[in-house]
């Protein structure tokens, strides 16, 4: 076997091994998307009921709460960025980071200080590499977030917003995450969690339904006090779940194109290998033919 052919054979073997790996990762990601989607769906009843309850208190009482009232001049905002722990997901993380950067730039242009909170090692690595300040970060659960994780994330954020801005608290809370639109489409979006715009929440609640006048137990203030942190937690939980589902979908897509690409590579490499083999054979034949012709010429000469 010629040297050229051997090189091609080796490259085909290595690309085949890579293809097997990416194919396996694609399958794993595909099964995880389904699981993650199921979790998003399972968390929906709680979220809808909670939204209803918040709307009910918000519209049914004139309660003022620090989490629903806008500061007249907001001076500091918190931005929570949800990324993943692991890469190999195409542009998933860089899209989320880009959206966070845009939001940060916008907030800074409005004259606000920005405190950054990050979920996921990827986002943290991006910020650390650029030596930007990160107030707090969490990682290790982005593949399968649980409600307890969402609570852990929400805790310091709620604490920060309840504190006075002068003492290092924040006036607003923004969240940047990747929305799971469909298997093929995931978009990085940003939204303001707090202060809550009750009108927006009301819009999300099922339409055409007149909310009854509730009796609050123990009182509207206490209910709102207990309700709002839970609402924030549930929104963060939902964002975490969507982000996880999006990450798996992005991984699946990235790995699918890697597998396809490896397939194409193998096809073109085996064509090249075939051509090299054929060239070798042709060369051998012409050597034999040439050799025998020379021999025939030589014998024909000696016969005379």
């Amino acid at each position: 076997m010629g040297a050229q052919l051997r090189v091609y054979k080796r490259r085909i073997r290595s690309v085949t091994a890579t293809k097997k790996i990416t194919k396996a990762m694609e399958m794993i990601a595909a099964s995880r998307v389904v699981k993650a989607q199921r979790k998003v769906a399972a968390s929906a009843p709680y979220a809808t009921e909670l939204t209803r309850a918040v709307t009910a208190v918000g519209t049914g009482s004139n309660t003022k709460h620090p989490l629903t009232t806008e500061a007249e001049t907001a001076t500091r905002s918190a931005v929570l960025l949800l990324t993943s722990d692991r890469g190999l997901a195409g542009a998933f993380n860089s899209n989320a980071i880009k959206a966070a950067e845009l939001l940060t730039a916008r907030l800074v242009a409005e004259g606000k200080e920005v405190d950054t909170y990050i979920v996921g090692r990827r986002g943290l690595a991006h910020y650390n590499f650029r030596e930007r300040k990160v107030v707090e970060s969490w990682s290790g659960f982005t593949d399968e977030p649980t409600y307890a994780d969402a609570k852990n994330v929400a805790g310091p954020l709620i604490e920060a917003i309840e504190k006075d801005t002068a003492d290092g608290g924040v006036d607003e809370l923004h969240i940047v995450y990747t929305e799971f639109v469909s298997m093929m489409t995931q978009t990085a979006i940003d939204g303001r969690l707090l202060p809550l715009r009750l009108e927006e929440v009301a819009e999300e609640a099922p339409k055409g339904e007149i909310l009854p006048l509730y009796e609050f137990e123990p009182s509207a203030e206490d209910v709102l006090d207990a309700l709002l942190p839970r609402y924030v937690e549930s929104r963060i939980y939902n964002a975490l779940l969507q982000s996880a589902a999006s990450k798996h979908a992005a991984t699946r897509r990235a790995m699918k194109s890697a597998t396809d690409n490896a397939g194409d590579l193998i096809t073109s490499l085996s064509r090249l290998a075939n051509a090299a083999r054929q060239a070798e054979i042709t060369q051998e034949i012409s050597e034999i033919v040439g050799g025998s012709a020379a021999l025939a010429d030589a014998t024909a000469g000696s016969d005379k």
């Binding site: 399972a42 709680y46 909670l50 509730y214 609050f216 137990e217 206490d222 309700l227």
Partner: protein, 124 residues
């Protein structure tokens, strides 16, 4: 047929139980509250404690609920809890172990959770 109300018991990550009931007893921060069909619209904060649901076919469903809300309107009752477990799902030995551990660690909230679980089991 006796009047019925529709109950949805949902935890943060799943729907735990739903069905028709004639009476639901839950513990709010200001005491136990019983809700029967036709109750006035209500929104309350739940304490961690057992929730008892009398189903319309005469059975009883008991669940351990750790924090959350009760809301009732239009004969529909929703119990929202961060964590909710039906009494049949609770592993008694595990809850007992958790209680022991919480007592030795002096972890008041864990002790309360384990205690609620055991009380929910005791009533089944």
């Amino acid at each position: 047929m006796a009047a019925e109300l529709h109950v949805e018991l949902v935890a943060a990550d799943r729907s735990v139980w739903s069905g028709e009931a004639t009476l639901v007893v839950a513990r709010t921060t200001s005491g136990d509250i019983g809700v029967m069909p036709g109750h006035q619209p209500l929104l309350g904060v739940l304490e961690s404690g057992p929730v008892t649901i009398r189903t319309s076919d005469g059975g009883t469903v008991v669940a351990a609920v750790h924090g959350g809300f009760i809301s009732f309107a239009d004969n529909k009752l929703s119990l929202l809890a961060e964590i909710a477990e039906l009494s049949d799902e609770i592993d008694v030995q595990r809850a007992e172990r958790a209680l022991e551990r919480a007592k030795s660690d002096a972890d008041a909230s864990a002790e309360r959770r384990a205690d609620v679980r055991l009380r929910a089991v005791a009533t089944r």
